[in-house]
């Protein structure tokens, strides 16, 4: 592992809406809903809803690093 790799911050995990398949990527955020790029899922307000199906934050689960979803 290089020095840069050792010092690089760990990638913030992505989160999957278990009801509709939308994947929240912290690098992208959800700017149209006031969530800027770089926002970790945990830091999103609790009243935020999935932009695809309207589900709540509690309906999301964290994707493990390297987790492969069928069809992706």
């Amino acid at each position: 592992m290089t020095v840069e790799e050792t010092l690089a911050p760990p990638e913030a995990p992505r989160w999957l809406c278990e009801l509709c398949g939308f994947i929240y990527d912290p690098e992208e955020g959800d700017p149209d809903s006031g969530i800027p790029p770089g926002t970790a899922f945990e830091d999103i307000p609790d009243d935020w809803m999935c932009p695809i199906c309207g589900a709540e934050k509690s309906d999301f689960r964290m994707l493990e690093p390297g987790e492969h979803l069928p069809g992706m």
Partner: protein
């Protein structure tokens, strides 16, 4: 980003439910005690669902047949058709057992219920959708255009608006209707993955500006199809969700 088609097929398998297992005993007893305004709203919404779910179940086969290049996509349409048929059977149980609409089968009961459904809803489900399905079957309609109507508008706007309105109405009733409520929650759960699947198809497609603008504008118009069965506040809410959904799949108009 939305997950791949294989994920939706697995998700659909995990969400299967049995519409005959829902206990409607309390609902049957409560139905006769509804206040007039409650009766009109609930029956109006249920009638719309009977028309809508029957139509979508009937016409989804054309979509599946068109998904020839991707087995997983075809698998999603097949799973969705199974769900929609189940929804139609659930609503038929409600109108037959709870409401007591006369008729030997769903089709006969539908003829009675259609009188309670707005012309706008009838036009969407009994003219527009069948026309799109015929176009798919005759090969002159593009699948993504059809998905734009079906998933983004009919499911994403019209049926979503109706589902939320019915669940809200059931919560506020003067009498308990737990069976209907349970069934509606399961219907809504299914519809969420249907909308996710449709959004995935749209996201992957190379739609031109005209198609995108059509989905946007038709969705906003379709939000009013339930007439006064849904409040203008709830119509506005579902229209905002529609716009937000389109933005999330990469459609940017503003």
């Amino acid at each position: 980003m939305i997950t791949g088609y294989g994920h939706f097929v697995q998700l659909a398998e995990s969400l299967q439910w049995d519409e005959t297992a829902i206990d409607l005993t309390t609902d049957i007893e409560s139905w006769t005690k509804l206040e007039d305004s409650e009766y009109d709203q609930i029956l109006g919404l249920i009638a719309g669902f009977c028309v809508g779910e029957t139509s979508v179940a009937l016409h989804l086969g054309s979509f599946q047949s068109k998904a020839t290049v991707d087995d997983a996509m075809a698998g999603c349409f097949e799973a969705q058709a199974r769900d929609e048929a189940r929804h139609a059977r659930f609503f038929d149980r409600v109108v037959g057992e709870v409401v007591g609409v006369p008729g030997k089968n769903l089709n006969e009961r539908l003829q009675v219920l259609r009188e309670r459904v707005s012309p706008e809803l009838l036009e969407l489900f009994e003219e527009r959708l069948p026309a799109i399905a015929r176009g798919l079957a005759e090969s002159d309609e593009e699948l993504t255009t059809a998905v734009g109507l079906y998933h983004m508008i009919l499911e994403g706007v019209v049926l979503t608006a109706g589902q939320h309105a019915l669940l809200d109405a059931l919560e506020k009733l003067s009498v308990p209707m737990p069976g209907m409520r349970k069934g509606m929650e399961l219907v809504l759960r299914d519809e969420r993955w249907h909308i996710g699947f449709g959004s995935r198809v749209i996201q992957s497609a190379d739609l031109v500006d005209n198609d995108l603008e059509k989905i946007l504008n038709e969705g906003s118009k379709a939000a009013w199809a339930w007439g006064d069965l849904i409040s203008s506040k709830d119509i506005e809410k579902v229209d905002q969700l529609h716009k937000r959904r389109l933005k999330s799949v990469g459609i940017k108009f503003w």
